[in-house]
């Protein structure tokens, strides 16, 4: 029995049920004039069939060996990156591109790259300014100025 596939089947079945219900409430219509929920309903049904098949294979199959997890506990690096990106997204518009990017890069250089904080800070600030110059000044991209709005480092 493969537990991860069983969990996957349960999630897919849940999604299928949701789509069938949503398809119905959006309006299935009929084949001569399919409604807005027509496709969702059919995809939902297909998902339910797929979930049943996946569950069947999971029950009949040999246990899975599980995902490759690095023995050094590197998963924490990936989780830290996700957390850093989430904080970055929350702060970006309020604080502005240059400060948030400098902090993000510095943190990642320290945690992911293993650089000493002074060097990481120098690289982070440099990277943020270089990116700002490239995208805002050269490519005219619209990045949030935040706290620096109205200064020469704003847009």
């Amino acid at each position: 029995m493969r537990i991860p596939d069983l969990v996957g089947a349960a999630i897919v079945a849940g999604l299928g049920l949701f789509l069938v219900r949503e398809g119905g409430s959006l309006g299935f219509g009929d084949p001569t004039e399919p409604g807005s929920g027509f496709m969702f309903w059919w995809i939902g049904v297909a998902m339910l069939v797929a979930a049943a098949a996946l569950a069947g294979f999971a029950l009949a199959g040999a246990p899975a060996s599980g995902p490759d997890i690095h023995p050094d506990g590197r998963m924490s690096l990936a989780l830290a990156c996700i957390a850093a990106l989430a904080i970055y997204a929350v702060a970006l518009e309020r604080v502005g591109f240059i400060p948030t990017s400098a902090v993000l890069l510095t943190g990642l250089f320290i945690y992911v790259g293993g650089y000493r904080p002074p060097l990481a800070a120098a690289l982070g600030i440099g990277g943020a300014f270089a990116s700002w110059f490239l995208f805002v000044k050269l490519l005219s991209s619209n990045l949030p100025a935040g706290l620096l709005a109205g200064t020469m480092l704003g847009n």
Partner: protein
């Protein structure tokens, strides 16, 4: 106007200073992302997509196409020198290419990869040029039923040919279809699955989805699994082949080119599968198969030619039918739509400048790539010495910039992060992101054509069987799914997909 005349006009467009610059930028960036593991052509293209909004559509497509075929060239460098494929199509090149490098024949391996890629890329372009008008004539017979059935075939094929289980790939494709349909219904103007969020009324953006699945997820995977590199640091000399090498590799290049060209046209096929099939073919027909995996030059020449031929021929269904055969070209289709370029059979008649300009630019780009990949090999090797501790944070920042700049909405950053985490998690349990992206792009077109086909046939599902072309696609789809359920065939399929 005859074919040569149209190609001549294409060269006039491709050789203009602006387009030469876009072509050079595309192949340069493509080579770079091909060389650097951790960022592939899809991530690079989505990163640059916002930057193309300000340039004319022809220049934009020339640059984005350059990234795609450039990455096919560049991917072989890391595969040979580091044994890390820069992108998925170079996985098999690692096997014999790196062995050759360890034996002091890195120059020969790099040369045969470059020359094979150049030959295959050029042949694929001739094929594209000759086949496109024929395909367009055939496409005039396409109605909604045929388009719908062809898209179904594409989704089935990409699931069948993926390395993951067919069932899991189909689930991902279905999920992609659902995600692609979020937003206002184009026929009834009803909001669908928007959960009262204004940001979702226009649907989920392609850029954050792709950047999340192929950019963020890839970095997270690399961080978790670690990336050890053993770069062959010996000076690369003698970028030339011995006569024995020429004899061994010339037919492998020709076979790889033909194989890649055919597989590249098929929906769901493309560069990755063609390189695997080419390697298996070369080993099977070799009189000394035991040399494979130990530095056989055919094991580099065949797959490299195949993946480049496939990269070229994959443009045929995109530019003639408006149907992308793989995830990378799905992104290119998204770019064409954003630039208001008519996609489908009318593209060549309505925008001949774009079609022939892009075709001609590929010739130019192939020559640029030859120059970039042989004399400048030392430069690319030096790029490999950039520490991942620097590279990964910078790529993450670039992903954030690309996504925010494309829409100006912070919501898209959340979407990107969510899809990054999703892609990272599901990859651990054997689900691939490519079918999701193809489903996502095809979703609205698929639904539109399905509903039109049913309305035109007064609700008869038999329309998909009664129309000959549609019937062929439907039967092929059913056969593919049926064979995937036969245990022996499925075992063989998995063996082929994961061979070596």
């Amino acid at each position: 106007m005859d074919l040569l005349g149209q190609l001549g006009n294409g060269f006039l467009i491709a050789l203009s200073l602006d387009n030469l610059f876009y072509c050079f930028a595309g192949v340069l960036i493509g080579t770079l992302v091909g060389v650097l593991p951790g960022i592939g052509p899809i991530a690079a293209m989505s990163l640059l997509l916002p930057a193309t909004f300000a340039i004319p559509p022809t220049g934009a497509v020339i640059m984005l196409a350059g990234i795609y075929y450039g990455s096919m060239y560049g991917g072989s460098t890391t595969a040979i020198l580091v044994r890390i494929p820069g992108e998925a199509a170079s996985v098999v090149t690692c096997l014999d290419g790196h062995e050759m490098a360890k034996q002091g024949r890195a120059g020969a391996a790099l040369f045969v990869a470059a020359i094979g890629s150049f030959f295959a890329g050029t042949v694929a372009l001739v094929g594209l040029m000759l086949l496109a008008p024929v395909m367009i004539a055939a496409a005039l017979a396409f109605g909604p039923a045929e388009y719908c059935a062809l898209m179904l075939l594409g989704l089935c094929l990409i699931a069948y040919l993926s390395q993951a289980s067919v069932l899991k790939s189909l689930i991902m494709a279905g999920l992609g279809l659902v995600l692609g349909l979020i937003g206002i219904d184009s026929i009834n103007a009803l909001p669908r699955l928007t959960f009262d969020r204004l940001e979702l009324l226009d649907g989920i953006g392609l850029v954050p989805v792709v950047m999340g699945l192929f950019g963020i997820a890839e970095i997270l995977k690399n961080l978790e699994q670690g990336t050890d590199r053993t770069v062959v640091t010996a000076k690369i000399s003698r970028l030339w082949l011995t006569s024995a090498d020429w004899i061994a590799s010339r037919w492998a290049i020709v076979r790889g080119t033909l194989l890649g060209f055919v597989l590249g046209i098929l929906p769901g096929g493309g560069a990755v599968i063609s390189s695997f099939v080419s390697y298996a073919l070369e080993r099977r027909i070799s009189k000394t198969p035991e040399r494979f995996g130990k530095g056989a030059i055919e094991g580099v020449a065949g797959p490299e030619a195949a993946n480049n031929a496939a990269a070229g021929s994959a443009f045929i269904p995109l530019m003639t039918l408006g149907i992308p055969p793989n995830a990378v070209l799905a992104l290119l289709l998204g770019a064409l739509i954003i630039h208001n370029v008519p996609v489908g059979p009318t593209m060549i008649t309505q925008r001949p400048d774009l079609f022939w300009g892009v075709v001609a630019s590929m010739y130019v780009g192939n020559v640029m790539l030859l120059v970039l990949n042989l004399p400048l090999i030392g430069l690319w090797v030096r790029c490999l010495s950039v520490p991942y501790g620097i590279l990964f944070p910078m790529i993450l920042l670039l992903c954030c910039i690309g996504v925010y700049a494309s829409s100006g909405q912070i919501f898209d950053l959340y979407v990107m992060i969510s899809f990054g985490v999703f892609g990272w998690l599901v990859a651990r349990w054997g689900y691939e992101p490519a079918p999701l992206v193809l489903g996502f792009v095809l979703g609205p077109m698929f639904e539109n054509n399905l509903r039109k086909a049913l309305i035109l046939s007064r609700g008869s599902w038999m329309t998909f069987i009664e129309r000959p072309l549609s019937a062929v696609f439907v039967v092929a789809s059913v056969l593919i799914l049926a064979t995937a359920l036969v245990p022996w065939i499925n075992a063989k399929r998995k063996e082929m997909a994961t061979e070596e």
